[in-house]
Amino acid sequence: MKVNPLSPEERQKAFANSKKPEVVRRQQLPVQYHVEDHDLQDRPRRFLEAFAAILKHTNYRPALEHYVRVSAKCSRCTTHCQVYLATGDPRDVPCNRSELLLWVYRRHFTVAGVLRGRLTADPGLTDEHIQRMAASFYDCTACRRCHFECPLGVDHALITHLGRYILSEIGIAPRALVVSVREQLIGASGNTSAIPVPALLDTLEFLSDDMKEEKGVDIPFPIDQEGAEYLFLPAVSDFLMEADTLMGNAAVFAATGDRWTVGTGYFDGINYGLFYSDQVLEKVLLKIKAEAERLKVKKILIGECGHASRTAKFFYPTYCGGKEALPVINIMEYTWQRWKEGRIKLNPDVITEKVTYHDPCNIARPGWIVNQPRELLKAFCRDYVEMTPGGRDNICCGGGGGTVSIDEIRPYRTIVGGRAKAEQIRATGAKYVVAPCANCKKQLRELVEDNGIDCEIVGLHDLLYKAIVFDKQG
């Protein structure tokens, strides 16, 4: 896919740094996102210590070792990164981005590198190199698209993840993410949006009343139901901002009659650990486990959210019991299954506008959720069109990897990161862009607004709510 090059004005706007110069100087960090103050003393040495400790206890070494050996610099991956397509900057070629960290590994953690360093009196890792990594690893959205295009299987998103993890251990991580995680793990509310339980209950009651009025049937949000089949965990921000999605979720359960529950002990699917820290990843999943055990549920059900679904699906077994861990499913999988079984009825005449589907990277890339939402949409949307490329090979919205939560880099996200996506959306001419992910929705809304595209970004269940019919209705 070709992307229009950036104009000089756009370039300037996208890369302007909104931070105060004295902050940049104080923190020695010319990056666009805010970082909390951290120790600057000997950053390179501390980076290497953290790197060594991480290598010792984790599984990254095989990948680093392998990538260092095989990377052929063949340049195939250049066609696949939405960031490079927009900037054309060699530093944004995926292979070059990963090289930042692979170089450190080769130089400091392989025998040949250490020897060569001694012989040539090469100073090794410098503070400038750390600054470059801090910028580059947050330019990448960790969308994994480039992984598909590398014949040698280099996974740049894994390297980005590791790079960010090491950086976070020396205090460099976006403040936006750190603050949310702090609230989630040790704050009073225990969730990333700081929603207190009474406010949650109010919201859900209010939504139920609304639905009763609109659909004429009781559509409850069951709370703390012990022994329910499913523990429901959406991205917690849905409770604040995505009322329509939640109503769709609840309506589906009202139609199927399956037992589900929202737990007041813990109700947040968001897990920023995926974006910068394995330790956070684990702690958040353990919170889910504790709630699932408290309520004795049988399955973990994640709402419309890409990274929440991926962290639970692919890491819940890691931290919560391997093959014996509770199964994890995504709400779209659930709805699709029940619809296939004929337990959900959809009116095909409600949605007549043109609809298209954006694949959230985290659920589409592994090939996990690609066709289910499409089949559902085709069943009740008269005018459904595809975006190309789509499915597993989709283009990232430009806000992946947690960057969407970093408000201060919005111009970068909507001018550079989402550039390819904006053109794709414009080309479909769709009225509704279905983006079943809290992160994608926020990013795409900002993207269409900043790029002057006339369309509405919705979740799958938002539309489904309009089309679902109840026998008792009317």
């Binding site: 302007a16 010319p30 003393q41 392998h66 340049s75």
Partner: protein, 264 residues
């Protein structure tokens, strides 16, 4: 001269070949050991083997994935690799040398096909070299060894082709043989220690990546213990501040908008 050629055909070839074989075997086994170790230390044994397998073979089958992007480059690159692998292994002259010295021999290519593959490999090397030099993103990625490899690989092919197909003087032939033998030996010696190691490691890439995405349980805590920071996890307030001595060094000037200057 003849002595040098005999050295190249005998001891040097044997040395280079054994070094290559052992070197490749070593990294292959090491990689497998790494994978097994990573698999063992993680409680989560759920790996999508079908996916790993599919992704692995997809790159070896010249349909599907390879052609979707940059088809011309893909075709050149594929043919180049085919020539590179097939000719040295299955050239009739090579096979008969093996048969003479070890008693083992195997299937060999008809000479016409071998010649064609040789020419293709040569053309491929040239095109890949030019592409590296003139296609901007490729140039941005390239190190010195990346330019050197296609040229070095072309030497034994070119000399081999000339020896078979062009009549040259006896001394010219000897020179070519010398170049042929010594460049081939150099290549074999370098293979395990350079990016050409991918000739044996490429089939393991997907499985390596798959196990690397399995993060061992409890690793985050152990990392902090090792660092002596177990009471300062990254999510507490000011986790990485005031742990160490006061700052002593004067800080250099940092420009706020380094990225503005990005290649325009």
């Amino acid at each position: 001269m003849q002595a040098w050629i005999e050295f190249g055909q005998g001891p040097l070839f044997r040395f280079a070949f054994v070094l290559m074989a052992l070197g490749l075997a070593r990294i292959f086994v090491l990689t497998l050991v790494n994978v097994a170790e990573a698999y063992r230390r993680n409680p989560d044994k759920i790996i999508n083997y079908r996916e790993v397998f599919n992704k692995t073979v997809a790159w070896f089958i010249p349909a599907g994935r390879l052609w979707r992007k940059r088809p011309v480059y893909s075709l050149v690159s594929f043919l180049f690799h085919a020539g590179l692998i097939l000719v040295p292994l299955f050239l009739a002259a090579h096979v008969s040398l093996w048969r003479q010295s070890t008693g083992f021999g195997w299937f060999s290519l008809p000479q016409g096909l071998a010649d064609a593959l040789t020419l293709i490999a040569l053309a491929g090397a040239l095109i890949l070299f030019l592409m590296r030099a003139f296609y901007a993103p490729a140039r941005a990625l390239s190190r010195r060894q990346d330019y050197a490899w296609p040229l070095l690989l072309a030497v034994p092919f070119l000399t081999g082709y000339l020896m078979v197909n062009v009549s040259v003087s006896a001394s010219g032939y000897q020179w070519m043989m010398l170049l042929h033998l010594y460049s081939a030996a150099l290549i074999m010696i370098l293979i395990p220690f350079t990016k050409i190691a991918h000739c044996i490691l490429a089939p393991l890439s997907q499985v390596v990546t798959a196990v690397s995405w399995k993060f061992p349980a409890g690793a985050g805590d152990r990392v902090l213990e090792t660092l002596g920071l177990e009471d300062r996890p990254t999510w507490v307030d000011k986790p990485r501040l005031g742990i160490e001595r006061e700052m002593t060094r004067e800080l250099p000037e940092v420009k706020p908008a380094e990225k503005e200057a990005k290649a325009s």
